[in-house]
Each structure stands twice: as C-alpha cells, then as structure tokens.
Symmetry: C2
Subunit: 237 residues, 2 copies
C-alpha cells in the first residue's frame, strides 16, 4: 500500500458540489461572507457553516472576522493553483475573473455598516495611513497624536468617540476593491462629518453615497490620493 500524503482528504473536501461552488466563488478573488457563500452554493446557512468549517480545517480557506460578519478567502496561492489545475482538467478553461465591479456608483462610494466604503473609502484610509495619522498595531489600528489633531480639525468630537467600547478604528475589507478601508467608530464619525459638511449624502433606497461635485473636490483635497505619482505631485505642489 502506497502511503503518500493524504491526497484523498483534500480531494474529498473539494469533491462536494456545495463546497466546490464556494471555492469556485472564492476563485474570483473576493473574500465572501458565510451568507454570500451559502447563496452561491444554493444551500442553507447551517449547512454552509459546517462546510466552511471543514474547508478551514483542511487548510483550503482562511477566515477573517469582521464585526458580526465572517469573511472567508482562499488560504493561499497553492489552493488557487490546485483549483485551477482541477478546472483546467475538468473541461472548461479556468474562469480567473477578477473582482468585478457591478454598479459603478456602488463601486465608487457606498455605505458599509455605517461608514464609507468603495474607492473613496479606500482613498480615505490610504491617505490617513500615508500621512501617519493611522498606524497598524498588531491586529488593529492605532490613531496617532497627529491623527487626533487632524480629525479634531476635521470636525469630529474626540471626546464622544472615546466614550464607548467598540473598536475605535478597524480595518475593514472592501467588498469590490478588496482593499482595506476604515471602519469602526472612527469610520462612522468620518462619514457623519462628511455628511455634516454636505459633501455627500446617502441615497435613501440604496447603499450608494452620492458626492456633490464640490464635495468630491474638497474630499480629494482633504484626503489626497496616495499613488506614487500623486504623492510626488502633492510634494511638489
């Protein structure tokens, strides 16, 4: 009897249609919540939860907790390579589609819980980090002294922020861009401040956050983009 690595265990994990559907969905690159994955596989929440636990146990996917959501993503590139080999063999060409935008407006700016997400959310986060207002501290984020000064100047009441327990600022995974943006109470405070300044307002029926032309201009000035060329442009200007 040939005693190789436990090939069958991994294969059996992928061998279930529901789990395979979830993995195929994760091949798009986005991290997805348990509910989304359940819908993707066409099964109920309890079943999906059990499946995901097994996939995680097998090292195929990795969880990422976020408030009351639990995102899953492929555990490593090895997993993606394995799935792609499977897809290539199983007839169809591997989809390999990237995290697609759907509604441009949603992609640009939308509400996530109660803070700003989408491209503008990513921009805000990047800008704060690049200017040293936020620092990654282990798992969480830390507001620096410079940062405290900045948000005070932006019209956010620091005292009220420090009152309650929930995490002050939290890295939040962006749904369309799949990059971090600012969540937590500070993220919420920013969104409220932006609305208070009339730069933007939430569209009632949807999650879209509509910026006014003037608001967009001021936002761009307040949170300069941090791509290399933009930074140098800022430095020059």
């Amino acid at each position: 009897m040939t005693e190789g690595p436990d090939i069958s265990r991994t294969a059996a994990l992928i061998g279930d249609p529901a789990r395979a559907g979830m993995l195929a969905a994760l091949m798009r690159g986005q991290a997805l919540t348990v509910s989304e994955l359940a819908a993707e596989a066409g099964i109920g929440l309890p079943t999906a939860s059990a499946h995901l636990a097994r996939l995680e146990g097998g090292g195929l996917i990795a969880p990422r907790r976020q408030g009351r959501h639990k995102y899953f993503e492929l555990a490593s590139d090895d997993v993606a390579a394995l799935l792609e080999a499977l897809m290539r063999f199983s007839g169809g060409a591997a989809p390999t589609r990237l995290p697609g935008p759907r509604d441009p407006a949603l992609r640009q700016a939308r509400v996530c819980y109660n803070h700003l997400a989408g491209e503008r959310g990513v921009q805000l986060y990047d800008s704060l980090v690049a200017r040293g207002f936020l620092q990654a501290a282990g798992e969480g984020l830390r507001l620096t002294e410079d940062g405290a000064g900045f948000i005070a100047g932006f019209g956010i009441d620091m005292a009220a922020l420090h009152a309650a327990r929930p995490p002050l600022c939290r890295e939040c995974l962006d749904w369309s861009a799949r990059r971090s943006h600012l969540g937590g109470r500070l993220g919420r405070a920013f969104l409220l401040a932006i609305e208070a300044k009339d730069w933007a307002r939430r569209s009632p029926g949807s999650r879209v956050i509509a910026f006014t032309p003037e608001g967009a201009r001021r936002f761009a000035l307040a949170f300069p983009a941090t791509r290399a060329d933009d930074l140098s442009r800022i430095a020059r200007g």
Copy 2:
C-alpha cells in the same frame, strides 16, 4: 450560483481513499493490473473493479487490455499534473519515484505468460521492429515478409504458428521497464526457440530466465540493440 466546470465530480473521484491510493500507485508511472491496484488500495477485487470503472469514466485513467490482464495507467499528463498539485498541497512532496527494479535477474530476463520479458524481451522487440520485421498495424502488430524469412531462419516453424487462433504477435507491456515487448504465439515461439538453442533455460521455481554466457553473446548478435549509437555502430560495422 457560479456554474464553472464540474470541478467537484473530478475531485470526488480522487476523494475516496481507495481510489486515491490507486492513483498514487499509478503515479509511479507503471501500468498496473486490476489485481495489483486492488492490493495497493487494500480492497477486494469487485470493489476495485467498480472504482476503476468510475475513474475511467471520469477520464482519469485509461485501460489497456492484454490477454486476461487489464492494465490501467494515468490517462494523460494533465492527470499527473493535477495529482502532483494535490500532493504538493497535501503536505508531502510528490513522490515521483520511477518504475523501480526489484530483483535484477527478474528485471533482466523473465517469463511473462510464456514468452520472454524484461530487458532482453524489450531488446528483442525493439530489434525486430527496427529491422522492419514487425510493423505496428493499428492496435496490433504485423509480421512482414522479411520478418517471416527471419524467423524461419531462426528455427521457428511458421506453419504451426499459423494454425491456431490466438493473436500471432502481440505488443505486451513490460512489467519493470514499462516498454513494449513481443507476446502472443510468436513471442512464445521465440522463447521456445531460444531454449531449444540452449541459449537460456527457465529457472524451475521462479520466473527468471537464465542465459548462459554463450547464449547471451549469441542473443546480442541475433537481436542487436537499437539505441542510436548501437544502430550507427551496426551500420558502420
């Protein structure tokens, strides 16, 4: 619901421990019989037969009938690549061990059914093909007119050979070298003729065919090796 290629079907096929064991055994590169694969997986013949039928149906392995044996081998390099990706992920490095020789004497010359197999069997087959005595004809082999002359000169009675039905000459898969050698009634006739010439004799208790030094010399002359350099040496000499 993402409708990709049917990834789960293939994965489920590999996902059974018995089937995975068989596939791992086939990764060594040898074609194996149903019985060998059953032993490899530690299951009974009926179960193995059913498993192999499913693997074949899934395009993972391909059969190769040979008398009352049925050899299976991996269907394509894609399958090997897929299995290797699985092994790499599942912890251990891929074994990738090559077809191992066990007993050197067995490997060199042995009886297979009732004809000559092993390195000398492969040499005989290659030599006959290289000199145009045998030709591949679709699934089987065909003896050319030159070939008929050759075997008559070797002391084989053609008339007796043509009497009965079983295939005159048959490509037979070598067990250790995994290359073709000559089986069928013609292969048997060659072995009998070699024994009649006292070049070699079968060892009673085993499958080894022991060549005498003189027999080995004459055999080498009668069936010149066909590696490129040997062929050119023959052409020159």
